[in-house]
């Protein structure tokens, strides 16, 4: 067994000759940068925290955003826009149906023509309804009235033509 004095001398000598290992030089060079990067990151104010700590700014931004959304919604449902859309859709409709021009006079004439057709058809329907009613009550032919079905239809057709001529 080594005596304590010998041991102390040997130990100190050996540890001086064989100190603790050092980290690789390339890692040592990065060390400072890594530490400073972490410190810089900690020093920068948190974005989330900034929002919390600046309520006035947060509310102002939120209000502006809400206003922008409201304006956007209003614009999307505005009458001006709807009129524009209607005109656009009407244009497409007229193009597909073959009607050349789109103006108020033409439109009015077209509507009136359609009305006449509807009225004529409506009168015919009513006529047929009236005819059914007459059949139901078994009314026979009276003086001055048509004697047969064919004569009745002819009479009614004549009345229609007179009306159309008048209008």
């Amino acid at each position: 067994m080594m005596n304590p004095a010998e041991w102390n001398i040997w130990l100190l000598h050996w540890l001086k000759a064989h100190p603790l290992k050092e980290p690789p030089i390339e890692l040592q060079q990065q060390y400072r940068q890594e530490v400073m990067a972490r410190i810089q990151e900690e020093s920068a104010p948190s974005r989330v925290l900034a929002w919390i700590l600046r309520p006035r700014f947060t509310f102002a931004f939120g209000g502006a955003l809400a206003a922008a959304l409201a304006v956007l919604m209003l614009v999307s449902h505005s009458p001006v826009r709807q009129t524009g859309q209607i005109e656009q859709e009407a244009q497409v409709l007229f193009e597909t149906t073959g009607i050349a021009s789109l103006n108020d006079a033409d439109l009015e004439e077209e509507v009136q023509a359609q009305d006449r057709i509807v009225l004529a058809e409506a009168v015919e329907d009513e006529t047929l309804k009236l005819w059914d009613e007459l059949e139901e009550f078994g009314a026979g032919p009276s003086e001055g009235e048509p004697n047969s079905d064919e004569e009745l239809i002819k009479e009614l057709q004549h009345l229609d033509d007179e009306e159309m001529a008048l209008s």
Binding site: M1, L12, L15, P19, R32, V35, M36
Partner: protein, 194 residues
Amino acid sequence: MDADLELVEAVLQGDTNRFGELVSRHQLAAWKLAYSLVGNMEEAKDLSQNGFVKAYRHLRGFRRGSKFSTWLYRIIANECKDFLRQKGRQPSLVSLSSDAEDDDSPPFDLPDPAKDPREAAHNRELAKRLARAIGRLPMKQQMAFILHHLNGLPLQEVAQLMDCRVGTVKAHLFRANESLRFSIGTLLLAEVRR
């Protein structure tokens, strides 16, 4: 004024970049301190860097009367202790981590084996035995031995780090030496007498 204190003052005045100079001055010693306690280079790097970041955060709490290095090493030693406690490990020069890069690599700087292979092999074996013997010491003796003999810290500083008196540190060192003399001294004597 002490160079470290000047840098501390500059940082506290707002010049954060000057803290980088403090890092440069103490990074090697900080890294080696952590390494001597946890036995792993990567872990030592992370823990010592954590220590620097904590030191920056609490720089205002640094008392001007004490040495910056002592204050920093105390932070790093606490980081290492917390880390080892979480891992359920004791301070050890020999890493007990299963993913250690080289379990057989002793923590000491050894000469190039190409120069004298026989001598290199002998030193390697001695280094491994010494590291294991230090790792088997009771924690306070181990801490005192590592701080004083491996990190070169004076007794006063070791006492501050261990939060005890200088006399207590001397007692820990004496007992540590005796344990190592019994472990390694017999082997050495046999080789000397061969």
